[in-house]
Symmetry: C2
Subunit: 352 residues, 2 copies
Amino acid sequence: MSSQTVLLLPGDGIGPEVMAQARRVAEILVPDIKFETGLVGGASFDMHGTPMADETLEKARHVDAVLLGAVGGPKWNNVARDKRPEAGLLAIRKGLDVFANLRPAYCFPALVDASSLKREIIEGLDLMIVRELTGDVYFGEPRGIDVDDEGYRRGYDTALYTHPEIERVTRVAFDIARERKGQVCSVEKSNVMESGLFWRQEVTLAHAEFGAGIELTHMYADACAMELVRAPKQFDVILAGNLFGDILSDEASMLTGSIGMLPSASLGSPGTPGLYEPVHGSAPDIAGQGIANPCAMILSLEMALRWSLDREKAADALFAAVGKALENGARTKDLGGDLSTEGMADAIIAAL
Amino acid sequence: MSSQTVLLLPGDGIGPEVMAQARRVAEILVPDIKFETGLVGGASFDMHGTPMADETLEKARHVDAVLLGAVGGPKWNNVARDKRPEAGLLAIRKGLDVFANLRPAYCFPALVDASSLKREIIEGLDLMIVRELTGDVYFGEPRGIDVDDEGYRRGYDTALYTHPEIERVTRVAFDIARERKGQVCSVEKSNVMESGLFWRQEVTLAHAEFGAGIELTHMYADACAMELVRAPKQFDVILAGNLFGDILSDEASMLTGSIGMLPSASLGSPGTPGLYEPVHGSAPDIAGQGIANPCAMILSLEMALRWSLDREKAADALFAAVGKALENGARTKDLGGDLSTEGMADAIIAAL
Ligand SMILES: CC(C)[C@H](C(=O)O)[C@@H](O)C(=O)O
Ligand SMILES: CC(C)[C@H](C(=O)O)[C@@H](O)C(=O)O
């Protein structure tokens, strides 16, 4: 295996704290991997006047995987819109063209009771949301705030999907489903949106062409938001556009009750680096206290090992170690325990 | 009180069954109210070739309130897009200009255990979603499916809000909050959408002008989808645009576990008729069996009595009767019982 490099972008808030632990785990588990570091979000703005510097993006393009902590915080609330930490996140997603955002929602057996849902509803939950990440209303043009012909102020955006955008992310969803139960539920609002109708048509076409062995169903986004609460275990893979995927994946991750546990992977074309980040945010309220749960960041490393670095065995070992640490009772504050960020990582390392 | 008229549009599927029971209740509770009936959705399409005939809309404009059952069913799956049952629903909403959709999510004490959420999370839940109903990506132009300059097929929609649209629905949310805990949480994606940023700005302006006594907060739609699962009782009134309101109100209603119980009201300017409909759909799978839960329809009547017909006492009595019937153990199949649609209405009438 030729030498691999991972770029670490700790970001803001608790980002640096959880990233430090993920790095520690990586240095033990896969000591041959090299690390570089960079700035993103508010941290980058403070240093470079932009939430994502061109050089950092360039660096990101040439590594094997990028780990990102979290961005944002009240400190940058009054920064110009295109310089806000979130803009850095959108810039790196778009810049790396990581169009497929994989957000697993699984329930760790040891944490079943952390959920606000009843045990029988979520025990054994294991679903994967595949969210399109570089299109839709996030990037569509025209968009703006101005005054219309009648003299009224207005704000508008364009929800837009093209054939290649839908096809490529649908193929990722099919590939992932093949390693699972083979079921993909595609979500849109084709009953009221033209882009939704187009989405459904294109997913259906892609299914005919690339979906051998895949059971494809369709659901409206509002119905999906309901069904996730009612009976989340009915789903295997949910495929959605950028906006619906944003909302539904956050809802799905909260079903497990432990959002501090959940990682995500954002993948581009084969051979390009993936972007790995926790589902949780930068949690400025607890930043600097050393009490953040590092598991989501460590499991983001686990996804990087699996999806970008071809280290499936190391990934399996790491996933198992996290589960074992939990079974052994290791808990940070968000999980009702009193371990520090470092203490939680210690428990995972011990279980490795 | 001058004579009042209510237009009944039973619609499709279980619509006619539940509407018949709401009418029966109304004839006992408020015998002086007159009824007219009309067709909507698939039923209208079958008769008139359109899911909402001009004459029906004209009739609706001249009554005091409109009760609608539900629309849609597999029978009309292959009907042209602008003739589908859902198009009838959008046409009557737009035609009556009912811009404020009120969707309460409350948990009946007798039904706490029907929820997939733990008792402590939803016991006592009582939140109101105010959803803008005649704007946003539902109606914005341009929209379509065509081929772009590079030769790719594409689908697109326009998410659009104007100043008057946001102001009027925000004022409704404030008015409603004043009768409750005085808290309004406005929801958007202002971090990624211009129409979302505009929404937040306009709601903030409206608050300065019309929001005396109201505590206004803002939340991103993805965070709201999470918070509804984690701790729904934190909310009093949620204010959202048409699309986010659609998704979040469906999620919120499912929290209660008994979607067959939940009504909605859609209000226009003072002096114009409101539109009242259950949150549930037409449930074609159980249509014609006489087993549908009529409560959501009967509670939609209750909302009509309260919001359009100025019969607050009758509304209070009806709401209490539904609660009492439940306490007495009355349950349709969806609630785990074996009462028929008519039997459930009997129980409510007995409790009146
Ligand atoms: C921070 C924000 C721009 C971002 C999004 O909307 O994509 C976040 O919610 C996410 O899901 O990663
Ligand atoms: C049937 C559909 C067009 C409608 C909507 O999206 O508004 C429904 O979901 C609702 O919420 O009443």
